[in-house]
């Protein structure tokens, strides 16, 4: 009996020691972020636009191995359509989802699934967009968001107290005939203070919070700045938006 008890204590102690050592090492993290954002409080632009979400955006996963810190996986695909839908619904009078019809290869835009974006940026030919039922969309222009790059940093790399996430978006701006007229960049930044997460296993929840803040920041900056920037103003002028300056936002503190 006494021997059994000692064995039990020994096992417990060994577990604690092993746990202690493991706790000192970071073994990466995996987060799946599926959130939306509040509806932005902005004056809508008087225009009807179509929004095209490509498959790469909708299934976006960033995976990276940090030397000595493990493998980190950030899955943000499921959040893209809800976040952009919420933002564009507030930014424009009318928003309709559209599909893209490509010639021989309807999946051409998702062939390159890296972080360099889809092929729309270099596509010299007009792109045909339709409503999901195949009919032409009654819109003045079309916006196609894509993710160009995701980066993150952990406190052990930077020496700071934050887990940080950057999401770099590109919005391709088309006219109703599918001619690409320009693009608009959006960068979302989020951080989570490690002090808000206790000890062991803090990487996943902290990275999750930082990613949510990055998505939220991208939504905020897009809704806040879009109508005041030259690229979007040019596009709005070309597609014939009438009340593009309902209000003029101030310079945003960076």
């Amino acid at each position: 009996m006494n021997r059994n008890r000692r064995s039990l204590y020994g096992a417990l102690a060994a577990t604690l020691v092993v746990g202690w050592f493991l706790g000192g090492c970071s073994s990466g993290a995996s987060v799946t972020v599926n959130v939306s954002v509040p509806r932005p409080l902005v004056e809508p632009i008087d225009a009807a636009v179509g929004i095209y979400y490509n498959d790469e955006l909708m299934n976006y996963v960033h995976e990276e191995e940090l030397v000595e810190h493990g493998v980190y996986r950030i899955d943000i695909g499921a959040s893209q359509a809800p976040v952009f839908a919420q933002v564009f619904d507030a930014m424009f009078e009318t928003v309709v989802p559209v599909a893209r019809v490509d010639g021989d290869d309807p999946d051409a835009e998702i062939q390159d699934s890296g972080t360099e974006g889809d092929d729309t940026a270099s596509d010299p030919q007009p792109v045909r967009f339709t409503r999901p039922d195949g009919t032409p969309p009654a819109v003045a222009g079309i916006i196609a968001p894509s993710i160009e790059e995701v980066q993150f940093a952990i406190p052990k790399q930077t020496g700071s107290e934050f887990y940080e996430v950057w999401i770099s978006y590109r919005l391709d701006l088309y006219d109703t005939n599918g001619n690409r007229l320009g693009e608009y960049p959006v960068i979302g930044y989020g951080k989570a203070n490690e002090a808000n997460f206790s000890g062991l296993g803090q990487a996943s929840p902290a990275l999750n919070v930082a990613t949510i803040w990055a998505l939220r920041d991208a939504a905020a900056m897009l809704s806040f700045q879009f109508r005041g920037q030259a690229q979007s103003q040019d596009w709005l002028a070309m597609i014939g938006s009438t009340k593009m300056h309902a209000t003029t936002p101030e310079q945003v503190a960076q």
């Binding site: 204590y9 020994g10 700071s160 107290e161 803040w213 939504a219 905020a220 960076q254």
Partner: protein, 231 residues
């Protein structure tokens, strides 16, 4: 009835633990407040406790803001509180880390927009309390060693102490009158330690909790019904 005498080293250990407990419970606190204008919280109005999130270091802990928010909203003289999350969601994207107004001029510009002022009226927020500061650990001394002795039993020996200091400041903005009505501060410092003779016994100075309790009481007094002597 049998009374057993404690061995000498047992008495010594007990005395050390008792002294440690008493000393550990001691936290020095300082509170200060500057009133710049009278306050008058209406029946249907509420207060929001917010933290600054734009800094690259020294960000206020989420649990401190939650603690102040909860304590201001409870107990004697409780004030109606709208949580930070409810407020920033209701005013999205105007109070996000990169877009929130940093001073009264910025706030005035934001609130002067009809779409924002209507929403602020709708949710009934009268005062914004911006909290800055944090609790930091410093001056660690001593050492503590733990090992697994014969038979697989873990044991620790040593003494470790450290100091923690909290330093928080709150600016109170009157949304209706577009002005800063006061600044409150709460500081606390205390020493925590761990004594280990086989079993480690931590004695933690509840520094942040004291700072939270003091700042919450300050906010309640500051924004609560004013007596004739003022704050």
């Amino acid at each position: 009835m049998t009374i057993q005498r404690l061995p000498r080293h047992g008495i010594a250990a007990s005395l050390v633990l008792a002294a440690a407990w008493l000393a550990g419970g001691c936290v020095q606190t300082t509170v200060q407040g500057v009133r710049q204008a009278e306050t008058d919280l209406g029946d249907s109005e509420s207060v929001v406790i917010l933290s600054r999130k734009h800094k690259t270091q020294g960000e206020t802990e989420d649990d401190f803001v939650a603690c102040v928010s909860d304590q201001v909203n409870s107990g004697k003289d409780a004030l109606p509180i709208l949580t930070e999350r409810e407020f920033v969601d209701a005013t999205f994207p105007w109070f996000e880390p990169r877009t929130a107004p940093l001073n009264m001029d910025d706030l005035t510009q934001v609130i002067n927009r009809p779409i924002i002022s209507e929403r602020i009226d709708e949710i009934g927020v009268r005062y914004l309390v911006w909290i800055e500061g944090q609790t930091q650990r410093s001056d660690e001394t001593g050492s503590l060693q733990c090992t697994v002795v014969t038979g697989g039993i873990p044991g620790c020996l040593g003494f470790l102490s450290w100091e923690r200091g909290s330093n928080y400041e709150a600016s109170v903005w009157d949304v209706q009158r577009r002005m800063t009505v006061g600044t409150l501060s709460s500081e606390a410092a205390g020493t925590s330690f761990v004594i280990a003779v086989v079993v480690p016994v931590p004695v933690i100075a509840r520094v942040q909790e004291e700072a939270c309790a003091n700042l919450s009481q300050e906010i309640k007094t500051f924004l609560g019904p004013q007596d004739s002597t003022g704050a």
